[in-house]
């Protein structure tokens, strides 16, 4: 008890009108790391609490999608892929699923936690971050199935597999970026949460998740790569199943995400001061 007091006695909190534009206090977020952990843990716990199948849903959802799309694209439409379709599709669908899940959850997370916003102080960005981390846990579980499929098709594992780590981080950062923009807007305009599912499904069509794509025209390729998920999805396929390695267009994906992320942080920071008043 005494140590706790001496440790925090020097802490001085200043109250003043929030006029700044930029400003994200990483130190403060670090101090609140346990809250991030508990909110993530709550999201996961609550999601599967009363489901008979529990955490298996995290696995079942992508597996069922895989079975259905394999049937539609491979068996019925005869889409040609360089590797077996289930493998081709799953290698891209899992990071996509992570992204779209994270994006949807983080966009609605602030409104879903309105009771916290109006009653307790903590850095607001913790809420979308925690919702994305909860989606990451689902993703890690499904990754195990993917490895199972790879063993089934006797795909050799290479060291390239470690590349999925930066690609996963990029997908999460992209989702957080969307979450910052949409989440902050949703506090004021509930239309956003109606829009998010559409945005997610349109975005999926623009990303080669379920079908292969081959663009030779450099200009079109460039435009295509403005969608950062193109880089993520292709990167994942390459890291797990080989094929064409990501080239310089990856830089576009990263650049776009970073640019929008910084913009998102600024926007979020500008909006967060009124969250408690308008939510």
């Amino acid at each position: 008890m005494l140590t706790e007091n001496t440790a925090s006695n020097n802490q001085v909190v200043t109250l003043k009108p929030n006029k700044g534009w930029m400003g994200i206090d990483l130190q403060e977020i670090w101090r609140y790391r346990e809250l991030i952990y508990f909110l993530t843990w709550r999201d996961i716990k609550v999601r599967y609490k009363q489901a008979v199948l529990g955490v298996s849903w995290a696995v079942l959802q992508p597996v069922i999608t895989a079975l259905v799309t394999t049937f539609v694209f491979s068996t019925t439409l005869n889409v040609e892929t360089p590797i077996p379709y289930p493998l081709f599709m799953m290698a891209a669908y899992l990071p996509w699923h992570l992204f779209s899940n994270s994006m949807t959850r983080s966009s609605t997370s602030l409104v879903a936690n309105a009771n916290l916003l109006t009653k307790v102080y903590f850095p607001r960005i913790i809420i979308p971050v925690a919702s994305i981390l909860a989606a990451l846990v689902d993703f890690l579980i499904t990754l195990v199935i993917l490895l199972g499929i790879m063993v089934f098709y006797k795909v050799p594992l290479t060291l390239n597999i470690f590349w999925i780590i930066p690609f996963t981080l990029l997908a999460m950062l992209a989702a957080l970026t969307v979450g910052l923009w949409f989440g902050a807007l949703n506090v004021q305009y509930r239309d956003v949460q109606q829009m998010v599912p559409f945005v997610a499904s349109i975005w999926q069509f623009l990303t080669p998740v379920l079908y292969p794509i081959n663009i030779t025209d450099p200009i079109n390729n460039l435009i295509f790569n403005l969608n950062p998920m193109v880089g993520v999805v292709n990167g994942f396929r390459w890291a797990l199943t080989g094929g064409k390695a990501p080239d310089w267009t990856m830089a576009i994906s990263v650049g776009v995400v970073l640019l929008l992320f910084v913009g998102g942080l600024t926007f979020f920071h500008k909006m967060e001061k009124t969250f408690a008043d308008v939510v």
């Binding site: 925090s8 802490q11 003043k16 009108p17 307790v120």
Partner: protein, 425 residues
């Protein structure tokens, strides 16, 4: 900032935007408002409804609190108490002015913030603790105390949705009570739970204040305020009216404005927007002759009148009052449709201006000062309006039961009862 100060607030103000047309909750509103504005701009007319209106919930508030002081904040609904607490707990930023808080701030604007119905008591203790700013280590070390305090015992691993509301509140308060920040900001959380538990909470709160922590405490319960705090701020219309020792401040608050000679009118800005269709107009205390009076006699009947307007017909309306002592202890509650007869006679009250009048029979109240709280509701449907400190008045008991002995008599009622004295042996 001086060393022994724990809170220093300088000239803080908070402005909110009101105006119904301006509230833009959906994009469609933004677009239609935008279009309307454009239309008005083109036609050269200005719509009064579309200009933004601002209201200051707090303005020019400055005060300091020394370390280890328990400061009460009292004021009527809408005086700015909650806004002040929200700023102090950093939930919202002030529009102007600034302040400094020295030490970790724990705020309890409600108990059980972030409780999740699906999670067990144990899980909620950790979650709620983390939300209130405790580290996992702190929660671990206080876990057993929290469970003991909450009296939840064996139900600790049951989802809280299966708890009774009493258990839920006890657990929620138990977590909050074990938060040990240097500055504790508390809003009306004691208004919950049964009397026993309330007493326990009050005890815990005075322990906290006794340990040298700074406590800011908002409550409508004047007896709790007087027990827990040494000093009080009286807020009115967003400004600090006075600051002083709690007893003086409570007296000042209860006597000022509240009791303009036994009568009280509601100004439009004192009534929340959501009371519609009920609009309180006034409440008054009348003596035997029917004149409005701040001081009435116990030996005479006392009349309480409540006037109000209904903007539309209201079904099942009951209008009534709570009578409290100035220490916040309830004396009794009465509604205008308490009797079967009047209940049957007024199933629906039409739009218009109404008056509900009640006579407290002679020889009911003891001497002292009393507070009237008003309540207008339709049972099981909605509470339209409530003001726990609508009006106060004094009762003079001279001539009443037992006043030939010039000693103070405990109790808030002083009935004339029928005694028989018999010699049995």
């Amino acid at each position: 900032m001086e060393k022994d100060l724990s809170i220093e607030i300088r000239d803080i103000g908070k402005r909110y935007r009101i105006g119904v047309a301006e509230r833009s909750d959906t994009l469609r509103d933004v677009i239609t408002n935008g279009t309307a504005k454009l239309g008005h701009a083109l036609s050269g007319k200005r719509s009064p409804h579309l200009t933004s209106q601002y209201v200051w919930a707090l303005r020019h508030v400055s005060f300091e609190v020394k370390k280890g002081t328990a400061l009460g904040i009292i004021g009527r609904n809408g005086a700015g108490k909650s806004t002040l607490l929200k700023i102090l707990s950093r939930v919202t930023d002030p529009t102007e002015g600034q302040g400094e808080l020295r030490g970790r701030v724990g705020s309890l604007l409600e108990v059980g913030t972030g409780f999740h119905a699906e999670l067990s008591g144990r899980e909620n203790i950790y979650l709620n603790g983390a939300i209130l700013g405790m580290t996992k280590k702190e929660i671990d070390s206080r876990f057993d105390q929290i469970v003991d305090f909450s009296e939840i015992g064996q139900y600790i691993d049951t989802p809280v949705k299966r708890y009774s509301s009493g258990m839920y509140l006890r657990l929620a308060f138990a977590v909050a009570a074990h938060l040990e920040p240097e500055i504790l900001v508390v809003d009306e959380v004691l208004a919950v739970g049964d009397a026993d538990f309330q007493r326990k909470c009050l005890g815990k709160m005075s322990d906290v204040a006794g340990e040298g922590r700074t406590v800011l405490f908002v409550s409508h319960n004047m007896s709790a305020i007087q027990r827990l705090t040494q000093e009080c701020l009286v807020l009115d219309k967003g400004q600090v009216l006075m600051r002083g020792p709690s007893e003086q401040a409570v007296d000042f608050y209860l006597n000022r404005g509240l009791s303009k000679l036994g009568e009280r009118f509601w100004e439009a800005d004192e009534v929340p927007l959501n009371t519609k269709p009920f609009q309180p107009l006034g409440i008054r205390v009348l003596d035997k002759e029917g004149t409005v009076s701040d001081s009435v006699r116990s030996v005479d009947p006392i009349t309480i009148e409540i006037e109000y307007r209904l903007e539309e017909a209201v079904t099942g309306l009951r209008v009534g009052y709570y009578l409290y002592t100035t220490r916040g202890e309830p004396v009794f509650t009465s509604f205008d449709t308490d009797s079967e007869e009047s209940f049957g006679q007024y199933p629906v009250r039409q739009a218009g201006t109404w008056r509900s009048r009640c006579v407290i029979p002679a020889h009911t109240l003891n001497e002292g000062r009393f507070v009237l709280g008003i309540n207008a509701s339709s049972y099981g449907i909605r509470r339209y309006f409530q003001d726990d400190q609508a009006l106060s008045f004094s009762v003079d008991a001279s001539g009443g039961a037992g006043t030939h002995w010039p000693e103070p008599r405990p109790g808030s009622v002083r009935p004339v009862l029928d005694w028989q004295i018999e010699k049995t042996e």
